[in-house]
Each structure stands twice: as C-alpha cells, then as structure tokens.
C-alpha cells in the first residue's frame, strides 16, 4: 500500500512552486526504492498524452513499512485545464520498483487558483 500525503494537505499550486509531501508505505513485496513523479496527463476525446515534469526517489532501505519525504518543482506550465475536448490533469504519481504498487493524487497547477476552464 502506498499513500501520498501532501504538506498541509495542499492540492493547488502555483507554477514554479515547490510541492512537498511524504509517501507512507506498507509494501506487500520488498522494494529498495519508491519513485515519486510529478506528471501531467491529458484526458478527453484525444489519445492520451503524458509527460513527467519532475521526479524524486525515496529509499526504503529494504524496509517494507515506513515513510519518506519528497520535494518536486512545479514547472511554468502547462496549467491545469478543462475544455470541451481536452483536459490537462496534473498529478503526483508514485510507484515501487517495476511499479508493482502505485498510487496517484490529482493536484492543480495554475496561476488562477484552479484549473483554467473554457
């Protein structure tokens, strides 16, 4: 089990802001590390595109249970967006080696405090 906990339970971020949080893990299979990614993905009518904007690695030291902190840098863009055909969703995504266990948490990156809606 993996759980993403964001600092102050914050889910809305400005571009260039540092996103801090921790991963709580209770793994069914041992993994030496957990990778935490800041990614955007598209949803909607078009074929999905996605991109990893930043990444951080948490070492488990071979332990199946525990927690580790991460820091990710929000880029300039793209902003979280919701249109008629396309939505751009930002999320924190984490996974063990070979992605046997994963977790994702949706966030908003935008200078207007929420996703840009058209």
């Amino acid at each position: 089990m993996l759980e993403i906990v964001l600092k102050d339970d914050k889910k809305r971020f400005l571009p260039f802001e540092v996103i801090e949080g921790k991963i709580k893990y209770d793994l069914s299979r041992p993994s030496n590390e957990i990778t935490v990614d800041l990614v955007w993905t598209t949803m909607g009518k078009g074929t999905t595109d996605n991109y990893r904007a930043d990444s951080s690695v948490i070492s488990t030291m071979g332990s199946n249970r525990g927690e580790g902190n991460f820091r990710l840098n929000a880029p300039a863009g793209p902003y979280s967006f919701s249109g008629k055909l396309i939505s751009i969703i930002w999320m924190i995504s984490c996974g063990t080696e070979n992605d046997k266990e994963i977790a994702e948490k949706e966030i908003v990156i935008s200078p207007v405090g929420r996703e840009v809606v058209v």
Binding site: K45, G46, T47, G83, I86, I88, R114
Partner: protein, 341 residues
C-alpha cells in the same frame, strides 16, 4: 493495475517502423510492375499504363520521404513538455514577423497533387468505360457506380481552380510588437497588404483560441477542433485604413497558454479575413505562441495572494480539488472583455 502515467509514448517507434515497412513493400511492388512494363520483349511500353502509375509512384515517394521524417508524419512536437519554448520563437521580446500556416502556392500544390491522384485513378476507369462503350459494350452498372467518383473529381478540380485564383489575392504581412506573449499582456498587431488591396471590401482580424484533439477509431485517425475564444482585433470596410495599419490587443488574464502535445493541442492564432467580391476571399491564419507566466509574474501573484487570499491558495483544503464557489465562466480574472463562441 494500469501502468503509471508520465512516461513518454513508446508506441511511436512501432508506428514509424510500420510506415517504413509499408513504404518498402509499396515501392517494391511498384518497381516490379513498372519494370515489367518496360521489359516485355518485342513490345513497346504501354504509355497509358505508365501515366496511370504516376500517382502511385508519387504516393510511394511521399511515404518514403515521410518515413524518414517521423516527427512530421506523426505530428510529434519537438518539445514534449507541451509548453512552447523560445528556441523556436527567436529573440525574446523582439518584433515578430508572423508566418502564415499555409500559403496560396502550398494550397495549390496540395490540391493539384490530390486532383492528379484522384482523377488519375477515376480517369483510368472512365477511359475503359468509354473504350468499351465505343466497342458497343454498355456497362450501365459500372457507369452508375462511377458517377459519384467523377462528381467528386470535378469538385476537386474546382478546388484547384479556386486555389489558382487565390494566387492573385493581395498578400498579407503580419507582425507583432513582441514574440513573448503572455496572458494579460498588451501587444500591437501590425498588418499590411502587397498587391491590389483595393479589391478587399471588408477586412476582419481576430485572435482565436482552439482545442485540437487527435484520436483513432479503428484504422482511421480523426482530428476534432473546438474554438473556445474569439477576440476581435480589427474590422473595417474603409479602403484607406485597410491596406496598412496597426491595432492594439490586450490578451485576457487567466487564459490558457499554448499547449502542444502529440495528440492534444491548445492553439492560438490570428485570422485575417478579407472579403473580395466575385473572387476567392483572403483566409490567412497565423499561429502564435502564448507562453505561461514567468517566475516574476508568478511571484507577484503570490505576493498579492498573501494579502488578499483571492485565489484561495492559502485556504484550508477540504479534500475537494475543484472547490471554487464563484464560478467565473470567463476562465480568468474579472474585467476581461472578450467574446466566446
């Protein structure tokens, strides 16, 4: 469990190699067929057949060239982060000459190519029908079957004629006072026409934002477009102000900057529409890049947020990401004047 998101699309390599393989097979067949036309001993080449093969050879050449330019073929942007970068836009802040996304000559070339391809194939069938008709074989079913294809061929021919006339339209030249456009910025748009601009009766210049989504259904690929914002920049019927001029444009705050991924895009473009009576109209499109706000602008928002809390970044989160109560359908700060479609 689904794979994690955020990795680059790996399926492109497979598509590229499939196209290369298909081009190889296509060209191999063509070489065998064309070779057999020339090597039949004791007979002269069948020139009608050779002419018939020209469109197929053109397709083979096109596929071969494009298979070695996969980014262009598959529409893969150079910048996979989706955000426009200045490397492609020249020097920051400089006056920026815009290039049209298409030119009359390019349109004519494409329509001629398509016309030759379509009418080359249909023409061959028509030739055989006429030949049989003259020999007394009246193939009514084939004639009825061919009628829609011939009509489409005539429409394509009309398109070629239309594109040819567009070559003689006045040419637009458009520039912006800056190439580093950002939401909320003021920019001056300058235009001029080369050629007989007196023929234009009504000139309209607009900024348009649209979404584009590419998707596959079965073996076909489709592109859906949705214009989400149209901002008038300039409109006139006066011949004196029409030929050359400038207009100021304020980009609304809070708009979505340009975005370009492989299948999904947010495109901003300036459209120049000139009505010419009894002649093809001017319909030029100039794509522009609107960049996300820079660190200084974001810092200013952050500082103002400390005092006002207007955007809600410092509110206590209750677990719901989309929690805004004052749903401003204009998608940004108040006070913008723009028209939505």
């Amino acid at each position: 469990m689904p794979p994690r998101r955020g990795q680059s699309n790996q399926s492109n390599q497979g598509s590229i190699w499939f196209i290369r393989f298909f081009a190889f097979v296509w060209n191999s067949f063509l070489i065998i067929i064309i070779g057999s036309l020339f090597t039949k001993s004791g007979t002269s080449p069948h020139w009608g057949m050779i002419l018939f093969m020209i469109p197929f050879v053109a397709v083979g050449v096109f596929m071969t060239v494009m298979s070695f330019r996969p980014k262009m073929l598959l529409g893969i942007p150079d910048n996979v982060s989706g955000v426009p970068t200045l490397e492609y836009e020249g020097k920051s802040g400089a006056k920026h000459e815009l290039k049209p996304s298409s030119t009359p000559a390019k349109n004519l070339g494409l329509s001629v190519f398509f016309c030759l391809f379509w009418n080359g194939i249909v023409g061959a069938f028509v030739y055989f029908v006429i030949r049989d008709w003259m020999q007394g074989h009246h193939q009514w079913f084939l004639i009825l079957f061919l009628i829609p294809f011939v009509l489409i061929g005539l429409l394509i021919l009309y398109g070629v004629f239309h594109s040819f006339l567009s070559l003689f339209n006045p040419r637009t030249s458009l520039s912006l006072s800056s190439n580093m456009l950002k939401p909320g910025q003021d920019v001056t748009v300058r235009w001029s026409f080369k050629g007989n601009a007196e023929r234009i009766e009504n000139l309209k210049i607009t900024l348009q934002g649209r979404e584009e989504a590419v998707y596959t259904r079965g073996t076909s690929t489709y592109t859906d477009k949705n214009v989400f914002m149209t901002i008038p920049i300039f409109e006139t019927k006066s011949k004196s102000t029409l030929k050359k001029g400038s207009a100021s444009l304020k980009l609304p705050d809070g708009i979505m900057p340009s975005f370009e991924a492989q299948h999904n895009k947010i495109i901003w473009s300036i459209h120049v529409q000139g009505e010419i009576p009894k002649w093809p109209d001017i319909q030029d499109e100039y794509n522009i890049s609107i960049f996300p706000l820079g660190q200084n602008e974001i810092r200013a928002i952050k500082d103002s947020e400390k005092f006002t809390g207007r955007l809600g970044f410092n509110k206590h989160e209750d677990g719901d990401v989309d929690e805004d109560e004052d749903d401003d359908s204009e998608g940004g700060y108040a006070g913008n004047s723009f028209k939505r479609r």
